[in-house]
Amino acid sequence: MARATARDRRRLPAALAVPAVAGAAFLVLPLTGLLARAPWTDLGSLLRSPVVADALRLSLLCATLATGLSALLGIPLAWVLARSTSRFVALLRALVTVPLVLPPVVGGVALLLTLGRTGVVGQYLDRWFGISLPFTTAGVVVAEAFVAMPFLVVTVEGAFRSADRGLEEAAATLGASRLFALRHVTLPLIVPSLLAGAVLSWARALGEFGATITFAGNFPGRTQTMPIAVYLAMESDPGAAIALALVLLVVSVAVLAALRDRWLPRGGAV
């Protein structure tokens, strides 16, 4: 903690203080508005209503499956990005992080054109295996993983890069293959980063809207996740929408709390 000296307590110039206060209010007020209008008395019954309960269950399931899929594919991808010496790795890294900045709805369209029934890959999935992803729960998982996986890849790649290569070398001199060294030395040492990446991509998957509604549509109980349910309920049943929004807010705050050591500097003014 910084000591509060007279020097630190000098008055802030109004030209900075006024917009700073306005900026803080701009970010905090909508959240207080949400809390002020929340139907606290009916909250229990609202959360148990079929539409809300279905959306909640589906969201948790799909976000968890999408995180699992991201980890399954993303950890090996992160390892290759961190360890490969190929010239094409920089290009590959840029390509796999595109979904981080891509508008999710564009991702949804791209997924539809690729994995849709008549899509570049989808037509063969349909013809050979009878698999059709769009407008199914599996489609929700795919759309969420598409948007969320880069968060895990970027986090875990950074951890692989800063992991002590000397320990992998020591493992090799003891007879460990690269795979054995990865499983028994490197991965256990980067568990905190793995968890952070997983939490981050889970939170991103939970809030996913654009890619999901474009690729998987809006079928209650099958593809209607919480963000989509909130959006639709705002017209028909604002109470339910606010209840769902509160759940998402609580989850977001919980994620922030879980990752605070990573993002918020210790002893900072928070």
């Binding site: 070398e169 690269r178 028994h184 040492l189």
Partner: protein, 378 residues
């Protein structure tokens, strides 16, 4: 216990279809090129002998170790261990580190921080597919041999430097390697623990059957632990020989400065600060108060700290005075290194003017003197 484990050496020649590995040692004849740096190595290391790899920082000592264990491939040439090629650029053979029967003790030990001591020592066996129980049993046998049993469940962060060094040695030996490499094994230790660990390490290295390569830039370490010395400077071998030969006839300034040390063993009399030397003679020393073991004491004396006289000097200031006969002389840059038979024997660096003044030549009788303050017990 440990004998039941498949050794990596066996695995290696099984893969090559060679019927039997004969311990013929480690033969390196190759080059490593990285940018402008070039390491040129030609070594033939016999089993059961400890070779000290000596050289200034950046000379290529650590690179030499890395090529032997496979962490750095050769650019040209070959490495053979007991007749089996580990790296042969012409024949396009490269055995990856995990399949080389070579144990490594790294300078910073590189213990796995998430595993306890037993887990670290069992790691090699586990990596080779040995079951958890047998790997633990084999690890326990090694822990007992290196007197580490009491630390089996400690994490590396809970170990002292000396303990971590022993765990690193146990971990490397537990893979039953055909060759052992040590990168400055004592450098990370403080001066006091270094003494005990050095004696211990010496005992363990003596019992190792294969060739041992030890990187060091400490003269005493080299003299005490190594059977042979190889000096590397600027990527080239500049001298090789027994520690005594290298100390007596240094070929480069670096070796002369580094190995310019007289090393004696003996037992200490605490009351008089006098060490009775094993080879005869006695020396009054400095630093004796810090020693724990008085029975086996090392004494170092720099050749520049010894003065030669034609007649017995008066005993006022230097505390150590003894008589000797010049055995040999070697020009050494701007000085001359004189080898004097004692007891105790000594290397003495003098100016060419002093050689002329004293009319030194092999066979000349001389008096030697050295201040106690420059005669260090270690």
């Amino acid at each position: 216990m440990s004998a039941e484990l498949p050794s990596r050496a066996q695995g290696l020649h099984a893969a090559n279809g060679t019927p039997e590995r004969r311990p013929t040692g480690l033969v390196i004849d190759g080059q490593v090129e990285r940018g402008t740096f070039r390491l040129d190595l030609s070594l033939d290391l016999a089993p059961g002998r400890v070779t000290g790899l000596l050289g200034p920082n950046g000379a290529g000592k650590t690179t030499a170790l890395r090529t032997i264990c496979g962490l750095t491939p050769l650019s040209s040439g070959s490495i053979r261990l007991d007749g089996i090629p580990l790296d042969d650029v012409n024949a396009e053979i490269f055995v990856p580190p995990e399949r080389r029967p070579v144990g490594v003790v790294f300078q910073d030990y590189r213990l796995f921080p998430h595993l306890d001591v037993r887990g670290n020592v069992a790691f090699g066996a586990r990596a080779r597919g040995v079951g958890r129980e047998s790997a633990r049993a084999a690890a326990d046998a090694w822990l007992e041999r290196l007197d580490l049993s009491g630390l089996a469940t400690r994490r590396p962060a809970e170990l002292s430097g000396g303990q971590a060094q022993r765990v690193a040695l146990a971990r490397a030996l537990a893979t039953e390697p055909a060759a052992l490499l040590l990168d400055e094994p004592l450098a990370a230790l403080d001066a006091r623990t270094r003494l005990g660990i050095r004696a211990e390490l010496r005992a363990h290295l003596r019992t190792f059957a294969g060739p041992v390569v030890m990187v060091t830039h400490d003269a005493v370490e080299a003299l005490v632990l190594a059977d042979d010395l190889v000096v590397i400077e600027g990527g080239r071998v500049t001298q090789r020989g027994s520690p005594n030969e290298v100390a007596r006839r240094p070929r480069t300034d670096y070796v002369a400065r580094l190995m310019g040390v007289n090393l004696y063993r003996g037992s200490l009399d605490r009351s008089t600060h006098t060490v009775e030397l094993l080879g005869g003679g006695r020396l009054v020393v400095t630093g004796a108060d810090q020693l724990r073991d008085v029975a086996d004491v090392l004494v170092t004396l720099a050749p520049t700290a010894v003065t030669l006289h034609a007649e017995r000097p008066d005993r006022s200031s230097p505390r150590n005075v003894w008589a000797g006969v010049v055995r040999a002389m070697e020009p050494l840059g701007e000085r001359v290194r004189v080898e004097v038979a004692g007891p105790p024997d000594a290397l003495v660096d003098v100016t060419p003017a002093a050689v002329a003044d004293l009319a030194l030549r092999p066979g000349s009788p001389v008096w030697l003197s050295a201040k106690a303050t420059e005669t260090y017990a270690a």
